[in-house]
Amino acid sequence: MAKKPVTVTLNGTERAGFAEPGQNLLDFLRRGLGDLSPKYGCGQGTCGACTVTIDGQTHLSCLVLAEAADGRAVGTAAGLADGARLDPLQDAFMENFAAQCGYCTPGMLVSARALLDRNPRPTRAEIVEAISGNLCRCTGYEPIIAAIEAVAEERTRP
């Protein structure tokens, strides 16, 4: 059973690799392309630590077949910062102590960024809904919600 060539546009850069038969996108990103930002939590889609965007929509990369992502644009938390300049969400997560152990953080950031990209001024309820597929066992969610709210509010200022 042959490996399959897979090309994705990862955070804006075209990247190619070979996917093992049945390999999921999370494993392909981490082992094939060396992007370690999406995390393996449960392998069942329950925890959201592996969240990435595919063509702008959030997906659970552990439940996506790597070869099904061929030709598509994949976004991960590693693509949020521009060199040393962090995404405002990353700054806000630091300021609000929104990361404790940090394992859920990349997935949270991807979900939050996807929300703000389509809805720059979300309500608190919309924020809660947007991260409802991402589990955090440290923070109790409040600091994470506060961080996302802080960025949303920043945007509404002139």
Binding site: M1, K4, P21, G22, N24, G43, Q44, G45, G48, T51, Q57, T58, H59, L60, C62, L63, V64, L65, E67, A68, S111, A114, V128, E129, A130, S132, G133, N134
Partner: protein, 266 residues
């Protein structure tokens, strides 16, 4: 080792199915098995664009089997299904999970199929044979006779349809039960009642006892109480980590009552 075969059309994918093969839709159920190493040896998938189309013809909405929950939420013609699609998983699951996959999703999943069952949807198969009632497809779902191409959903009359999902964790917990009611009226009386339960048996099931109580009635407080009393009659709900069979049976009437009350005066 797993072998994945990708076809440009659903018809070709359907022909490639056979012993030891499984179809991969959005993958939110099947990829769990792949990751756990207990998926069938061959996975068949298709990139057929027809599978993700939504079409409206008069009062019949046709959903391609590959239409996702997120697509349903983005389609104004499908407003009556928004309350259902919104309650399936979290945002990522809704971006991935499909209509076709929901019909086969094992207990306690299948909330969308519960709504389709109450709405009297018909299922069209890839072989082009005439569409069949969804109950038939659900009844045979453990030994499926081909791939689903699309689902035809009749638009319910205004105010006739309602859905309720009961879960412990909000907003995205799995169902303790889900209930869908379609109670069209003629001259103020229910004519053609359809009620469907999810997570109350091995698959989404019609609630025949409740339908009999409501048929021909105006659904006043007395009718609602009578329906609630016999809610779980004929059902044998499973026990799982979310709830015991006893608990599901005990609270079925409470949730049915709340659903029917929410429909009053619509």
């Amino acid at each position: 080792m797993i072998e994945v075969e990708t076809f440009p059309t659903l018809a070709e994918a359907a022909r490639a199915m056979g012993a030891g093969a499984a179809y991969l839709g959005g993958g939110t159920v099947m990829m769990r098995a792949v990751n756990a190493g207990d998926a069938p040896a061959r996975l068949v998938r298709t990139t057929d664009p027809a599978l993700t189309q939504i079409r409206a013809m008069g009062d019949t909405l046709t959903l391609g089997a590959g239409v996702t929950m997120a697509q349903i939420l983005a389609e104004r013609d499908l407003d009556f299904l928004h309350d259902v699609a919104r309650q399936i998983g979290g945002p990522q699951v809704r971006n991935m999970g499909t209509v076709g996959g929901n019909i086969f999703a094992p207990h306690p999943y299948g909330d969308f199929a519960v709504a389709l069952l109450a709405l009297g949807a018909r299922v069209a198969m890839a072989d082009g044979s005439s569409a069949r009632p969804i109950e038939d497809v659900l009844r045979e779902r453990d030994r499926p006779s081909g791939l689903i191409a699309s689902v035809e959903v009749p638009r319910p009359r205004p105010g006739a349809f309602a859905f309720r999902k009961v879960s412990r964790v909000r907003p995205k917990g799995a169902s303790i039960m889900s209930i869908a009611a379609n109670l069209p009226r003629e001259g103020g009386r229910v004519r053609g009642a359809r009620l469907a339960w999810g997570a109350m048996g091995p698959r989404p099931l019609r609630g025949a006892a409740v339908e009999r109580v409501l048929e021909g009635q105006s659904v006043d407080h007395g009718d609602i109480d009578r329906a609630a009393q016999i809610a779980a009659k004929g059902l044998e709900p499973p026990t799982d980590p979310l709830a015991s069979s006893w608990y599901r049976t005990a609270v079925a009437g409470v949730h049915l009552k709340r659903l029917l009350q929410s429909m009053e005066g619509r």
